[in-house]
């Protein structure tokens, strides 16, 4: 995965953090509720986790480049509206169309970030506001019902009778991104951009294109997550995915991907997304009111970022 040059002890520890957390959570939940390790509840967990895994995996690429994409949730919400509006006319073509449009919107944000030299969190914060407004306007600020869902129904089926198709798709997407990164020079380009952008530029890495590409994949993943949401809820809504932003950011940082860039991988975010989903599902099981969920996300984000930060690189933190 990452370059093994002088891994600091803290990094070696954070490398296993998501797995340790995952095992500990499953163990704790099984103790708290013996019914947890049954087929039914595991399938429910997998189905809940699927959109989050896809969202987090896409945004991980942006974080690996050293930026952040705060617009993923708003883009996913907008994509649910697009999908619900386009399904009657486009039918089976609506799904690829939505993913393409979402990827194009992501790429446009990346281009704005790279060409105008605006920090990525500002571009995507502005993008979040713009995309939410567009979603509100084209949906008339209401839920758009999907009457005929035959073309996206396959995502709601089960593979081999047990594995939810959406979860299988999520794993497939993560594997696809991981394989493409490994067999092409992309992995080292992204890592170089994240570790030291100036050095990467001097070494001839197409830094600008890498960044735009990362934003493009992040957008496409938001589109795919939207398709999963619509297939489960039979409707699209202008704020449907908005509450997935914090869990997605939490999944990335809990996985151990450093927000300073370079260090991390999509598999880590996969594990992080599972941890976040288990926390979400597990809190009611152990009898904690769901209001603590938000507090937990906030605390997790701050602590996980602090643990994974590359301190050598940040002299002044703004």
């Amino acid at each position: 995965m990452s370059t093994a040059v002088a891994m600091k002890p803290v990094h070696r520890l954070t490398g296993f953090m998501p797995l340790i957390a995952l095992v500990a959570l499953v163990a704790a939940l099984t103790v708290a509720d013996p019914d947890f390790l049954t087929q039914r509840s595991l399938i429910a967990v997998a189905r809940t986790a699927a959109p989050l895994i896809v969202l987090a995996a896409g945004a991980t690429l942006v974080v690996l480049c050293g930026g952040i994409d705060l617009s993923i949730a708003a883009l996913a919400s907008l994509s649910t509206v697009f999908l619900a509006l386009w399904l009657p006319e486009l039918g089976g073509l609506a799904t690829p169309a939505v993913i393409l449009v979402a990827a194009a919107i992501g790429a446009a944000q990346g281009a704005a970030h790279v060409l105008l030299r605006i920090p990525s969190f500002i571009v995507t914060l502005g993008g979040m506001a713009i995309l939410s407004a567009v979603a509100l306007v084209i949906s008339g600020a209401g839920t758009v019902r999907v009457v005929d869902d035959s073309t996206i129904h396959w995502l709601d089926l089960y593979l081999a009778g047990y594995v939810p198709m959406s979860a299988a798709m999520a794993v497939l997407v993560v594997a696809l991104i991981a394989v493409v990164l490994t067999v092409t020079p992309l992995r080292s380009w992204i890592a170089a951009t994240g570790y030291s952008e100036s050095a990467a530029r001097l070494a001839g890495t197409p830094v600008d294109l890498v960044k735009i590409g990362a934003f493009c994949v992040s957008g496409g993943c938001a589109g795919l997550a939207a398709v999963m949401l619509v297939s489960r809820q039979f409707s699209g809504g202008p704020t449907m995915a908005d509450n997935l932003l914090l869990p997605a950011v939490a999944a990335i940082v809990v996985g151990g991907t450093a927000i300073t860039g370079g260090h991390g991988s999509v598999w880590r975010s996969f594990a992080g997304a599972l941890v976040v989903t288990l926390l979400r599902v597990g809190l009611p099981i152990v009898g904690v009111p769901s209001a603590y969920e938000q507090i937990l996300y906030g605390a997790i984000i701050v602590v996980a970022v602090a643990l994974t930060l590359d301190r050598a690189k940040v002299s002044t933190v703004k």
């Binding site: 050293g66 930026g67 952040i68 704005a112 970030h113 105008l116 030299r117 605006i118 920090p119 990525s120 969190f121 500002i122 571009v123 914060l125 502005g126 993008g127 979040m128 506001a129 713009i130 939410s132 407004a133 567009v134 509100l136 306007v137 600020a141 952008e197 100036s198 530029r201 914090l246 950011v249 940082v253 927000i259 860039g261 009111p289 209001a291 603590y292 969920e293 938000q294 507090i295 937990l296 996300y297 906030g298 605390a299 997790i300 984000i301 701050v302 602590v303 970022v305 602090a306 930060l309 301190r311 940040v314 002299s315 002044t316 933190v317 703004k318």
Partner: protein, 331 residues
């Protein structure tokens, strides 16, 4: 801090700064005149009073965020802090959920809670080195969680006449809330101009390394700035509660982004070291005139967030373009 020290650098940079400083007020006048020409309802005296009244809460939030932006940091926690403070104040003054009736003390507690949240964000920044946008994003979630816990499924409606009256009763044609906001802007301006905290906030944004090398302990000032910002958000939460007559978790929805828009459009740079309360006050009026005017000429209010998003990106891009060759690395 004598006034000569403060004035000296201003005089030198006057030529470069004058255009930048004049831009937002000129834009405010131009936008106002355009909408006044387009819509008869817009130019009525009532509507002008409306705009100023509607700007009150945003002005207070922007006061807080301006200090953070001057340091070159950013604060996304306003929504969460305002939610927590709104619930706190609505449960502490006379309400339908419990027998509390603390009046002004309740407001003070809500403001102090805002301080505490701000302080935590600041500590996460200086001690854990978590970048401010992440620390405050996390803190916003914590604030919303705390607010949801206090909300507990039953909306607290306030019956305290003093708190409710702040939004309803008027003085010289403007609501009390507007005068409170004007007071906040004045206090913010005094802090920025005459206290060490305000001057150092500027200096941290301009050149933090230089300031640290000249022997200033930067960290306590950073925490203090975030704490001050938290106090403003806490007060803003109280003001929203007064307007709504009830404590809502969503009291601060959208204010964080609107405040960033207002500060940026007023001429405060996100890289820090330029701008200030005066700029932000103009920015607040500009944002409010724009949103009010767009509705008056028939644009759907749903576009408001989109317009703000475009303004932020455009304003930041305009500020960065002159230096784009210099800063090669943008994260």
């Amino acid at each position: 801090m004598t006034s000569e020290v403060v004035n000296a650098p201003r005089r030198q940079s006057r030529r470069g700064a004058s255009f930048r400083d004049a831009g937002p007020p000129v834009a405010l006048i131009v936008v106002f005149l355009v909408f006044a020409a387009l819509s008869p309802q817009f130019r009525s005296l009532d509507n002008v009073a409306n705009i100023v009244d509607a700007a009150a809460v945003l002005a207070v939030v922007t006061c807080g965020i301006t200090f953070v932006l001057m340091m070159g940091s950013i604060d996304l926690s306003a929504a969460g802090v305002m939610g927590a403070s709104a619930l706190t104040v609505s449960l502490l003054v006379a309400n339908n959920r419990n027998d509390n009736d603390f009046g002004l003390l309740g407001i003070a507690v809500a403001v102090l809670l805002g301080c505490a949240f701000g302080c935590l964000s600041g500590l996460a920044l200086v001690l854990l080195k978590v970048p401010s946008f992440m620390a405050t994003l996390g803190m916003s979630a914590v604030g919303l969680g705390v607010a949801t816990l206090m909300f507990a499924g039953v909306q607290p409606n306030i019956s305290d006449t003093m708190v409710k009256g702040l939004a309803i009763e008027r003085f010289l044609g403007l609501s009390y809330l507007t005068w409170i906001a004007a007071g906040c802007v004045l206090v913010g301006w005094l802090v920025q101009r005459y206290t060490r905290l305000g001057r150092y906030a500027f200096a941290i944004g301009g050149a933090e390394e230089v300031l640290a090398l000249s022997g200033v302990k930067v960290k306590p000032y950073k925490v203090a700035v975030f704490t001050l910002a938290g106090a403003f958000y806490g007060l803003a939460g109280v003001m929203v509660t007064s307007q709504l007559g009830a404590g809502l978790v969503q009291a601060g929805d959208g204010y964080d982004f609107s405040a960033i828009t207002a500060a940026v459009v007023g001429g405060t740079l996100l890289t820090g070291g330029r701008g200030g309360i005066g700029h932000s006050a103009v920015g607040v009026l500009l944002v409010m005139v724009l949103t009010n005017g767009l509705v008056q000429v028939g644009v759907s209010p749903y576009w408001q967030g989109g317009v703000e998003g475009l303004i932020v990106v455009a304003a930041v891009a305009a500020a960065v373009i002159p230096q784009r060759r210099r800063n090669q690395v943008v994260k």
